[in-house]
Structure formats: structure tokens, C-alpha cells
């Protein structure tokens, strides 16, 4: 698979960590010499994707940016599978930050 083809096939795909946890989306790609060298994920990359609407969404979503080196990608199918857990990359922070509060509600772990 050529790099450009690969890029086309992974942009905007779901990211899954090694435990199968959904931990973001491929929001942008770092390309050097026609090779994909890293995946970018986070609201900080939205402004460059969708004009004023992207800036607005990025502003609401916060400016989080995560760079995942391409070597960390284990497999690409209908999702992009990573080799390690989400927190090790700084992915899935939104859910991890809210969890302690949500867990206080009775029945939240059911």
C-alpha cells in the first residue's frame, strides 16, 4: 500500500488502543517525504480542517493535541489499532478526567 493511499485510508478513522478502547479519531497526519510518520489526534487539529466551524469546534473542545508515532500503529482495518493503552499516549483524557465525578453517582458502574 502506497503512503498516499494509506493516508487516505486512515484519516478520520477511529483510534482503538490495545484493549480495544475507543480513544479518539485520526484528526490529521504528519507526512514527511510522502511517508506517514505520525498520527495527530485532538481538538487542537480541528481548526485547520474546517475553517471557522472547525475553529469554533476546536475552541469548544479545548486545544488538546496528541502525536502518536507511526511505529505505534499495530494494525489498520476499519479502525486504527494502537500498540499501547490510551493513557500512555495521552489519548482518551476527556473520559478519564470525567470518570471520577461520574463514578460518584450510584449505579454508575453497573
Amino acid at each position: 500500500m502506497g503512503s498516499t493511499h494509506l493516508g487516505h485510508n486512515i484519516l478520520d478513522h477511529q483510534l482503538l488502543d490495545k484493549d480495544g478502547r475507543r480513544c479518539g479519531n485520526v484528526d490529521d497526519l504528519a507526512i514527511e517525504d510522502a511517508d506517514v510518520v505520525a498520527i495527530y489526534s485532538g481538538p487542537g487539529y480541528w481548526p485547520q480542517r474546517a475553517g471557522w466551524l472547525g475553529r469554533l469546534a476546536g475552541w469548544i473542545g479545548g486545544s488538546g493535541r496528541v502525536r502518536v508515532p507511526w511505529e505505534e500503529v499495530a494494525k489498520v482495518d476499519s479502525a486504527v489499532h494502537l500498540r499501547r493503552t490510551a493513557p500512555e499516549y495521552g489519548l482518551g483524557k476527556g473520559d478519564d478526567c470525567l470518570r471520577p465525578f461520574v463514578e460518584r453517582i450510584p449505579g454508575a458502574n453497573r
Binding site: D12, H13, N25, G61, G94, G107
Partner: protein, 408 residues
Amino acid sequence: MSKILGVALGILAAIGGFVDIGDLVFNTAAGATFGYQLMWVLPIGVLGIIVYSEMCGRVAAASGKAVFDAVRERTGFAAGLSALIASELVNLLTLAAEIGGVAIALQLLSGLPYRVLLVLAITGVALVIWVVQLETIERIFGYGGLCMLVFAVAAVKLGPDWTQFGKGFIPHVSQNSPWLYLYFVIGLLGAAMTPYEVYFYSSGGVEDRWTPKDLGLNRANAIIGYSLGGLLSVALMVVGAAVFLRHGINPEHLGTIPLGAEQPLGKVGLLFAIVGILFAVGGASIDTVFSGAYNLAQFLGWEWGRYRSAAGAPRFFLTWIVLLVCALGIVMTGVDPVMLTEYAVIFSAVALPLTYIPILLVANDREYMGASTNGPLANTLGIIYLVVIAVVAVAAVPLMIITNVGQN
């Protein structure tokens, strides 16, 4: 045997869950305004939802992708974000209308003040979602919604003019108020093909981990469930024509609709109709609020799912809570749920192509779909319906303006 029973029970729940507030409002009002003349639109709408639900279910089974996952992947971030915002707004309007409908049904049963019942309705919906497993919720509300079959009994008992009824299935344009007639065509199609139904259906397929082995079940659910559910739409239109049009009543208040079952069947008919509406609209409000949360989570890659605990998918959980609170805020202003429904259905007609084009694209991607890729029949129907949807989308807002939201 137990598998057949399971499928049968699922189909029963699908029939009970078919009708939502959009169908209630548009089918009854269409009958009350144009008699049987708009019958021909119903099979077109039902076939449309069958075609795209079956396709979404197949995409979910073969690729593990739910609708908004596919939307983002196929249309990119910018177009996908526009589709997301449009569908979330329409979903919120629909949710608010459904919550209003629940409160009106509760008011007919209890006589308590509307606003108190709105708060009760929203609290009830949140509690049910929190406490009861979603599969059980779907079954309970689906079976409860079967009380709506009272409208089918009423339709037969009313002894409609069967010749006029039959003629209604031949497509034509009314000479009398053609713009209003066309507005109803758009509304009936929009109500039958409401996008939240496919969001919910496809996300459920992904959650239930459907594989190509489940394609038979998917087809049975879509074809049998929606066709039989569509008969309820026919019954509502007959009741609209045979009761409301005959007596010159405009069912502009949701509370008027159950009277259509009372006239031929008495108090028992009335009670079944109110309970049926309560369950049908209550179930639809749960589907709608989940659809809103599914779409946002899928678009942004968050953890989502009804089988996950709130702590397992905190942002998904907070999204549906926020949607419920926003919906409550909208209906508490006192805006009429029927008016909200009309706006929700007409705007959802505008948003339809944004949902269905990416699905058609993914369903044709052999790399994902393998042997389950769209065949000639699914593609032919899919493309015909895309044209129908495109016409509906373009015509919806102008017709809404020309007819003053169906008031003239």
C-alpha cells in the same frame, strides 16, 4: 425455536416502536386534511426506511461501522461536522417534541399540569435509561406501543370508503391546495424516514456485535418490522380521514388524536390509544436521545455504548443527560409539541441526504463489506431513494414557507 421466538419478539417490538410523534402528527393531519388522497406516499416512505435501515444494518454487521463513523470517514471532517451539527439540532427538536408528547399523554391520563408532567416525563426517561437495560427498555416500550394497534381496529370499524381508500394509493397531485398537499408529501416522507431511526438501528447493530451471520435477522427486522409498522401509519391516516375530516375537526392538538379511536371504540379505545401513544412516543424519545449521544461520540471517536456503564463511557453519558436537559428547556417555554414536530420533520428531511449518501458509499466499498457489498437491487433502490431524498431536501423549506408550516 427460541431463536424464532426471539426474532418474532424483536419484530413485535419494532412494530410497536415504528410510530413516533412525527408519524402521529403528519399521518393524522394528512388524513384530516386530504382524506385518503395521500395514501400513496406511505409505501414509498416505508420502502425508503427499509432500504436504508437494511443497508445500515449490513454496514454495521460487515464493517463494524455505525452511521456517524461512516459519515466522518467518507465525507471528511468539515462536511461531516456540518452533518453532525444539522443532525444534532434536528435530533434535539425531535426529542423535545417527543418529551412534550409524553407529557400530553400523561396529562390525558392524570389531569395534572403540563409543565409538572414535562419534568416528570424527563425524569422518568432518565431514570428508565439509568436503571433498566436498554434491550428491556426497547421490548417494554415496543410491546406497550402495540396498543397503537387500536387505531387499526378503529380504522376497520369506522368502515372507510374502500374505493376512495384504494384510489389513494395511486400517485397524483391534488387540484385543491396543491402547495399544502406537497407540504404533506414531504412531511409524510420525512416522518417515515426520520434519520434518528437509522442512527439508532446501526449503532445497536454495532453494539450487538452483528456479523455477516446476522444479516438474515437484519433483513427480517427491517422488512417485516417496518412494513407492519407502516400499517399503523395507514391506520392513522384512515382515522384522520374517517373521523376528523368527516367532522371537520383539525387535530392540531396532540390530545385530539386519541379521540379518533374513541369515536368507534368508546372509552376502551380511548384508553388504548393514550397508552399506545405514551409508550410509542416515550420509546421514541429514548431512541432519539441515544441517537444524539451516539452521533457525537462516533464523530469524535469517544467511547460509547448502552452496554457500557456510565463510568465506562462518561462523555457519552453526559451527552445524553445534556440533551435531555436542553430538550426540557425547549418544551418548558410552552412551545407546542405539534409545531416542534413539524419543524423537526421538515428539517430532518433537509438533513436526510447528509446521512444516506455516506452510507451508500460505505455499503459499496468492497474492502470493508466483502461479500455483503451492495448488490444491484440495493444500489438501484438506494440511488432512486437518494434522488427522492434530494428532491425532498430541496423542496422542504420552500414548501414550509409557502404553506406557513402547513397552516394555510
